[in-house]
Symmetry: C2
Subunit: 209 residues, 2 copies
Amino acid sequence: MNAPNPDQSVRSPATGRKLGRRPGGEDTRGVVLDAARAEFAARGYEKASIRGIARAAGVDSALVHHYFGTKDQLFRAALDFPLDPRVVLEQILTGDREHVGERIARFALTLWQDPNIRDRLMATVRGAATNDQVAELLRGFMTKELISVAAERLDVPDPVLRAELVMSQLVGLAMARHVIGVQPLASTGIEELVALVGPTLQRYLTSPA
Amino acid sequence: MNAPNPDQSVRSPATGRKLGRRPGGEDTRGVVLDAARAEFAARGYEKASIRGIARAAGVDSALVHHYFGTKDQLFRAALDFPLDPRVVLEQILTGDREHVGERIARFALTLWQDPNIRDRLMATVRGAATNDQVAELLRGFMTKELISVAAERLDVPDPVLRAELVMSQLVGLAMARHVIGVQPLASTGIEELVALVGPTLQRYLTSPA
């Protein structure tokens, strides 16, 4: 439906809530976030648009941009994820090249220690393992916002593939520690794991073919 | 219920099928496998017992052993998984030490190419990601039948941890290629990946602390 919505009291197709073209406020934020979660889940990260989400929420695109910024920022707000991956990547990739693998391992392992973040990451991993649309969402988000951003900074052959191998080791480590829960891996200290896994990530990110 | 079952026409608590203490045959195999799946899912690999499965199926333990062998073999029969992990591990770990990482990477990547095996592995990964009992089952099976068997053969500090790190990279690679499906990783050829991932596994399995 591309036609503008003249009826101020229709229900949001995303949420079923009654809504109008209201000027803003706390409830509007909630309606937009509900619409965003529904749209991202239904269409995936690539195909979901701010315009479509605004339409589903019965508000102007400009209002969504005003509240949430870019599509990436809206997705993170919908996931309620407290970090900006571009800022984090910038911090990790800046600094001496010889220890970038260790920095990434330390950051990812520490991130999973935070119970709130672990819950959200677990929900995402579990969703991706069982729902093709969530897998599509995670794939699109990882590719656009993590892998391609990291790959731009790498000076190796096949930088996208290398960034994906890093991601594969981190996802596998999280699965083994927090989903499958094998011991002693699940209870091994972060610095011991950084010493073991850091060189793996370092080699993926910096070694020639 | 430890008492023997004198009633030849009760229903299996595992399957609801009417059963007696029959001498054998195709249907008995099916009843035992149903009972095994139910028992493994409910109690996990460690706590499930041949005796308990036999009781749930209404047959003698000796019959279960006769049909399926050990608990490990019964679990694999219940998963309908066509490989014996101990035989495979023995083959992979035998041979020159310098290329053991490559051999493991090649074996695991090739295994996932087989559509039938991929379906079963995906079902297991998906089950583990969403069901704590399946995760417990997978954890027990991996620990007893894969990790500890491999660790016995390793001459490194913390061999169990090292074997688990190998497992983590392989699980993550399978997730990235077959569940999340990031490109180009999902369509990269096996030998190219063996060259990239083999040295990771090699280091986990052979490098000093």
